[in-house]
């Protein structure tokens, strides 16, 4: 082992920081190495000098006391935590309850599950395609003024998303007029005679 490695051990030896086996090895080396012996002497004196210096430096130092400051901070922290845990917590809880209640009310009135006020009318049997029983004198059915034709299927692929939303918005308004003419099939006694009554809902044109 060279002296550099011995020096590391000597630095521990001066502070009694080596185990017995290493201590014996260092002592044996010191008995034969004058430079390491000098180092040991210097390190011991350094250690003593450090302690003297430290004692002198600490002796003239006024570090004061931290007890008062620590206790004041603890009391303040406790007060703050109490303030938060008692009335503030309660008011926060009340706020949460109010917000939840408001959200529920809003959801009931406007939510997706809410019943729609859609006045979509399905075609009544009277307004649909009437099947006239076999009678000789068949009074021709007169279109009623409040006739509501069936609404075109909302799943029509021709409708874009915007159109769909527009139609959803306008569900509460009266249904729009049908774009296609309505055809009424009238049966007569003669099976070979069938009357088709075509009504153009946009206008007053009728074709028989």
């Amino acid at each position: 082992m060279n002296c550099v490695r011995w020096q590391r051990l000597v630095a521990l030896y001066v502070g009694d920081d080596l185990d017995r086996s290493r201590t014996a090895g260092v002592e044996q080396h010191l008995s034969t190495c004058p430079s390491c012996r000098d180092l040991e002497h210097d390190l011991r004196s350094d250690r003593l000098h450090l302690q003297d210096l430290d004692a002198a430096a600490a002796g003239g130092l006024e570090l004061g006391s931290v007890r008062g400051a620590v206790m004041a901070k603890i009391v303040n922290r406790r007060k703050r935590s109490l303030m938060f845990s008692q009335p503030r917590l309660l008011s926060a809880l009340a706020m949460v309850v109010v917000v939840i209640a408001l959200a529920l009310v809003m959801r009931q009135s406007t939510g997706p599950d809410a019943p729609r006020t859609v006045s979509r009318q399905s075609p009544s049997p009277a307004s649909g395609v009437p099947v006239v029983p076999e009678q000789r004198d068949i009074p021709l059915p007169q279109p009623t003024p409040d006739f509501v034709p069936p609404i075109p299927n909302s799943t029509d692929t021709r409708l874009t998303r915007a159109e769909t939303s527009l139609s959803a918005l306008s569900t509460s308004s009266p249904p729009p007029a049908p774009a296609e003419p309505m055809t009424i099939k009238i049966l007569t006694d003669d099976p070979e005679v069938v009357i088709y009554w075509i009504v153009d809902p946009k206008g007053d044109k009728e074709y028989v």
Binding site: Q7, R8, L9, A11, L12, V14, G15, D17, L39, D42, L43, D46, R47, L50, Q51, D52, L53, D54, A56, A57, A58, G59, G60, L61, E62, L63, G64, S65, V66, R67, A69, V70, M71, K73, I74, V75
Partner: protein, 202 residues
């Protein structure tokens, strides 16, 4: 622990201090502020001195000591009574001081901050200290300790100045005893070089 006479072996002093602290810790856990105050009084000098030795600055040492005791108060319920309050205090003090040293290294104080600090501390007091032996000793001690890394400094201070045994130093530094030996060896040799080197004190 540290306040014990030097004749008492380190570990025995540690055990004695732990036994004395146990009652205070139990009372403090139950919410007795007076007991916690006694605990602070018992250990504040040790914590302040250790912090000051590590950071070399009285104001920083006071800040560290306050934080140490506030953390002690927060962790009273989780404190391991077998290890004792003293060992815990040393560990937290060393950790906070090393953190402060690292911060200082990253953000060295500007000259303006030094001026403000001097004004706050009182130039008169500084002038008075400058004439004392204590101030001379601090001026000699500071450059020697500054040659050491934070962990080397902590190991040397705890072992050579505070008189803790290897096990306690290892616990305070949060490392193994073999690592502490490495810190001690390097630290003592660096101090020797600082004394004899060109940059060392006369």
């Amino acid at each position: 622990m540290v306040g014990a006479p030097a004749a008492i072996p380190d570990m025995l002093a540690l055990v004695v201090a732990t036994t004395e602290d146990l009652g205070l810790v139990e009372r403090a856990r139950a919410g007795d502020d007076a007991a916690f105050g006694e605990l602070v009084s018992e250990h504040e000098k040790t914590v302040l001195r250790t912090a000051w030795r590590l950071v070399g600055n009285a104001e920083d040492a006071r800040d560290i000591a306050q934080e140490v005791f506030l953390r002690l108060h927060r962790t009273l319920g989780r404190l391991d009574p077998k290890r004792g309050v003293g060992a815990w205090l040393y560990r937290v003090t060393v950790n906070l001081a090393l953190t402060a040293l690292r911060k200082r290294k990253r953000h060295p104080e500007s000259s303006l901050e030094n001026i403000v600090r001097r004004a706050a501390g009182g130039i008169e007091r500084l002038e008075q200290e400058r004439r004392t032996d204590a101030a001379d000793a601090r001026r000699l001690l500071a450059p020697v300790l500054e040659k050491l890394t934070g962990k080397e400094r902590a190991a040397v201070i705890l072992r050579d100045l505070e008189g803790l045994d290897m096990k306690a130093v290892a616990h305070a530094l949060g490392c193994r005893q073999v690592t502490v030996r490495s810190y001690l060896s390097r630290g003592r040799l660096k101090m020797r070089n600082a004394v004899t080197g060109p940059g060392g004190p006369p």
